[in-house]
């Protein structure tokens, strides 16, 4: 049975057009000057139990708005939305029992209390049996070693520790579906890895459906088999990650610090790369404002190592960095028809 069914879902906000300055602010008090923002604009998809779905897109794409509709906080402007056969905003309390939610920017834990007290409060709210509660915490302790944190006040935790506790909290009542809204935002690599393996393990052992929004393509690669890309409230892509993976997995950006940061050097670089690797080389060059020269390479066509070796032996390079493609670039490439 389908767990989440969404059809032609839209959410439009009416926003007051604010004017500048004191005069504008006073004018806004009496203004009837609204504009409509289509945060979510006719999206459709179905999610089956046990799936891990990456719900991605650039800032302001409508990801959080969709999550808020699925969790029953926001009422859709139009369209159909059912979770487990029920409409979330009409059955908020009941739906909350089968859902877990983590907002990466906020915490559901009590700021001034030791971690374990928050867990105990949540245990009461969700009416979790003592036996299940103990089992659950035991399992988390095995996976990520939480026990040491139990007696610490939440406000004294590091961001990563707090996130581990928040995720633990959202799984306490063994929900059918967990929404993770930017769970790895601002975290370092090692804690990210910990969180990813925790999510995978929970999905594997309990068959919990997980909807993940993130900016980090690493999260998506590590966790999801299916991704949904949205931008400006519309679905750009919904399908197997492999196809997308081939796309953004193949691209790498070589960031170069050239000694002569001039237009002439850039032109020379462009020309010599074309001579060396031919016209269909899949290399694009751009200069950034902070004096880096970005060489983006499609590894399916040209090997990064070859380009690096060639540049190093022909130009004076003072520093080199290799970065993976960003979310914004993926979206741009999808727009350009890369997935058609």
């Amino acid at each position: 049975m389908t767990l989440i069914h969404i059809q032609d879902l839209s959410k439009h906000f009416r926003i007051l057009n604010r004017h500048e300055g004191v005069k504008g602010a006073v004018r806004d008090l009496f203004s009837g000057d609204y504009r409509t923002v289509k945060a979510v604009d006719g999206i459709s998809f179905d999610i089956e139990p046990g799936e891990i779905v990456g719900y991605i897109g650039p800032n302001g794409a409508g990801k959080s708005t969709t999550i808020k509709m699925m969790t029953g906080i926001l009422k859709p402007s139009a369209g159909l939305l059912q979770v487990n056969g029920l409409v979330p905003y009409d059955n908020r309390m009941r739906q909350a029992m089968i859902m877990g939610v983590v907002f990466g920017q906020r915490t559901q834990l009590w700021w001034d209390l030791p971690v374990i007290e928050s867990f105990k409060i949540l245990k009461e709210i969700y009416k979790v049996e003592q036996k299940m509660f103990d089992e659950h915490l035991g399992m988390f302790n095995e996976l990520v070693g939480l026990k040491a944190l139990y007696s610490q006040q939440v406000r004294t935790l590091s961001l990563g520790q707090r996130m581990l506790c928040d995720i633990t909290a959202s799984f306490l009542h063994n929900p059918q579906v967990v929404f993770l809204d930017e769970p790895t935002i601002g975290l370092d690599v090692s804690i990210k890895a910990k969180i990813r393996s925790l999510i995978l393990e929970l999905n594997r052992t309990r068959n919990t459906t997980i909807i993940l929004t993130t900016h980090d393509l690493g999260d998506v690669e590590a966790l999801c088999r299916r991704i949904i890309i949205i931008d400006k409230g519309k679905t750009l892509y919904d399908g197997d990650i492999k196809k997308v993976n081939a796309l953004f997995g193949a691209y790498r950006t070589l960031k170069l610090q050239l000694r002569d940061f001039t237009d002439a050097t850039l032109a020379a670089l462009q020309e010599r790369l074309t001579v060396r690797f031919g016209t269909g080389h899949g290399i694009t060059i751009a200069q950034t404002e902070d004096f880096w020269t970005d060489v983006t390479i499609d590894q399916a066509r040209t090997a990064l190592a070859d380009v690096l070796g060639f540049v190093m032996s022909n130009f004076t390079v003072t520093d080199v960095r290799i970065v993976e493609i960003t979310m914004e670039n993926v979206v741009r490439k999808v727009y350009d028809g890369a997935l058609q």
């Binding site: 009422k75 909350a96 001034d112 245990k123 709210i125 009416k127």
Partner: protein
């Protein structure tokens, strides 16, 4: 219900977690009591009775009034406005809890810590330091119920003010206005007997007197007929019900602003 009691427990723990703050609350109240004692001593200046109250009754009224004021002063409206403004309310809306009851029980938890820090020391001081003469009567028995009803009325008003943050985004003006109105019209600042008779009559039909004046009357004049107390409780209960229903209705309207216009 068990779930909501967890909020009471949590709030009590938050209330006592900062030991120094806890200590200063106790100290601050003791200083206030001493000042109030000498102030009202000089107001009476040898006179036996003012506006039908003896010095002991007036001091009792003022001292207990201030402890009730602190008991009711839980900043629920400020906390809610903060949560509504910064969007933390979303976190509560994803939980299987009623937002009003969640706030009520959290507020009860916070208030219970101030029973420990303020109410108890005040009563001890009144009995052992100022050696106030307490009249004997049935009023004391009704007092706890009356106090609980006063607490609920006050909470409902705070809650309604907090909800206004959905519309205004800033509740500073509304909240301060409410505070001034409540402290004057409820008899928290001054016994209602000190107001002109005509104004007293108006005040008696407003909900504010049910928040301070009624419970205070039960302890300053405990030797009245049982029927009088029951009537007082009935009026309080009616106001508690009216404010509860009104704030519920306001919530169902206010939440639409969030759900339709976005968080």
């Amino acid at each position: 219900m068990r779930g909501y009691l967890a909020f009471v427990r949590g709030a009590i723990m938050v209330g006592v977690v900062y030991r120094l703050g806890f200590l200063f609350t106790i100290l601050g109240n003791i200083i206030y009591m001493i000042i109030a004692y000498f102030l009202w001593r000089s107001i009476y200046a040898g006179r036996e009775i003012l506006n039908g109250l003896t010095f002991d009754q007036a001091l009792l009224y003022i001292a207990l009034g201030s402890t009730i004021f602190i008991l009711l002063k839980t900043y629920t409206d400020w906390g809610m406005a903060q949560e509504i403004r910064d969007g933390t309310i979303s976190v509560y809306l994803t939980k299987p809890i009623d937002y009003q009851l969640y706030n009520l029980f959290t507020t009860i938890g916070f208030a219970s810590t101030s029973i420990l820090t303020v109410s108890l020391p005040t009563v001890i001081m009144l009995i052992f330091v100022f050696r106030i003469h307490f009249a004997i009567g049935a009023g004391y028995l009704f007092f706890p119920v009356s106090l609980l009803l006063a607490f609920i009325i006050n909470f409902n008003m705070d809650y309604a003010v907090g909800l206004s943050a959905f519309y205004t985004e800033s509740i500073w003006g509304i909240s301060t206005t409410k505070e001034i109105i409540v402290s004057v019209l409820s008899g928290a600042l001054l016994p209602l007997q000190f107001f002109p008779a005509a104004i007293q009559q108006i005040l008696m039909v407003l909900p504010f007197q049910a928040m301070f004046f009624t419970p205070l009357m039960m302890v300053t004049k405990p030797d009245q007929e049982v029927g009088v107390f029951l009537q007082m409780l009935a009026v309080q209960a009616a106001w508690a019900a009216v404010t509860y229903i009104a704030s519920r209705l306001l919530y169902s309207q206010a939440i639409k602003v969030l759900r339709v216009a976005g968080g």
